[in-house]
Symmetry: C2
């Protein structure tokens, strides 16, 4: 385990997300899992099925972050262009990977359908495979880029196989507390608390429940001792503002 911060960029590929047809849920799942593994998502881009945009984004993210994860565009139809774009981004040829081809050929079908299915066996030369516990074709990785399916169930299954392969840093721990107070009622004191604890990322998120305004304070840091101190301070700050700290998670 590395003690430095390990950063990831996520690339979500698909016109269906940008058009609002499909609500993305892959980012939130990736974030929760990678966080436990000590990998912090630093930026996410949602981009269309457009070759030059995919190629440019993959190249930029691959050099900017420790890890890159992509979702979407690795199926058998004309709009599945991700594998070709990743190959192009790294100046590699697309080759038929024997293990994926064998899996696909193990399910007999007509010649035409088989030809379409075998498109899913084309990956960049030199890429390694990401297992697919749902039984479908594998994903792949090349350099620091991990290429997974867009279907949440399949993406989650593929991701689950990567835990031992990825080298994360210290996991980011979090604490949270809520209070029935408007954000502005604690804003000054919370700002001071953030200044005193610059290593802790303190977030303030308003909510309404039962017609009353409330605020969630979320604290994130790799150091448990410091985090627990800040949580105590946050509870005190809420009490000083005349409210009761609730839903304390820590």
């Amino acid at each position: 385990m590395s003690t430095k911060e390990v950063k990831a960029g996520i690339i979500i590929i698909g016109n269906e997300i940008l058009s609002g047809r499909t609500q993305d849920t892959n980012l939130a799942h990736l974030a929760r899992v990678l966080n436990v593994w000590g990998i912090k998502i630093t930026e996410t881009r949602i981009i269309p099925d457009d070759e030059s945009v995919i190629v440019d984004t993959v190249r930029h993210f691959s050099s900017a972050f420790d890890y890159v994860f992509t979702t979407g565009g690795i199926g058998p139809t004309h709009d599945d262009i991700t594998s070709g774009c990743i190959a192009k981004a790294f100046h590699k040829k697309l080759i038929e990977h024997p293990d994926i081809a064998r899996l696909i050929r193990s399910r007999p079908t007509s010649d035409e359908v088989m030809k379409s299915r075998l498109l899913m066996a084309l990956i960049p030369e030199g890429a390694g495979l990401i297992d697919n516990p749902t039984g479908g074709p594998q994903g792949f990785y090349i350099n620091n880029v991990y290429v997974m399916a867009g279907i949440p169930k399949v993406m989650q299954a593929m991701l689950s196989t990567l835990e031992d392969q990825l080298n994360g840093g210290l996991p980011v721990l979090s604490r949270s507390v809520t209070a029935f107070l408007g954000e502005s009622q604690i804003a000054t004191e919370l700002g001071r608390l953030q200044q005193r604890y610059s290593v802790v990322d303190i977030g303030s998120y308003p909510f309404t429940r039962d017609g009353k305004y409330g605020t969630s304070i979320v604290m994130r840091c790799t150091d448990q001792k410091i985090l627990d101190e800040v949580l105590q301070e946050a509870c005190k700050l809420i009490e000083n503002a005349g409210a009761v700290p609730e839903n304390i998670h820590g």
Copy 2:
């Protein structure tokens, strides 16, 4: 109404989205509404509460797209840095806007809380206001960048006031049809259909229902006549593959 394609970039600002704590729903709402107004979302970036990243992204998007919409980071706490970053991106000073300040001052509170609330009146010099039908402080726009709240209810209310102000192109219309067929069973013919109708964006999305594999075909285009032709062809293609076209929307 413009007859050329009008493009938008979306910037979702907030550590809470990148950490997986909060599931973003603003993109899908923006996409559905902007689409009806003839504005197509071309790229979305989800970025942290980090000044240099926000400033760079705003500048890049503002020059790359016709419109830019941001959500998040305009509240009264220390982690709300969006307004200052937008000012910096356009080399403007932050000034207290009298209309927002008047609204905030109309609700009496202690001096300290008022001071925090008035932070929400600070916007870049020269910016116009975006009404906030929920009754809270307004959002703002400067050049082609529209700056809105992150809370979905507030963002949606702000967006709803912009319809007459934005100049969209031809709305993108869509048609869809589903069939209980695997994607690979129609992949070849669907690819040919896409080649014949290059102005239509044809997407293929697998699903499972009642334990059976299915495929949704979604067609998007600004020309209704062409779109209806393609829908008919898609239905024929499904029948030729031995299945029944279902859930025809058009």
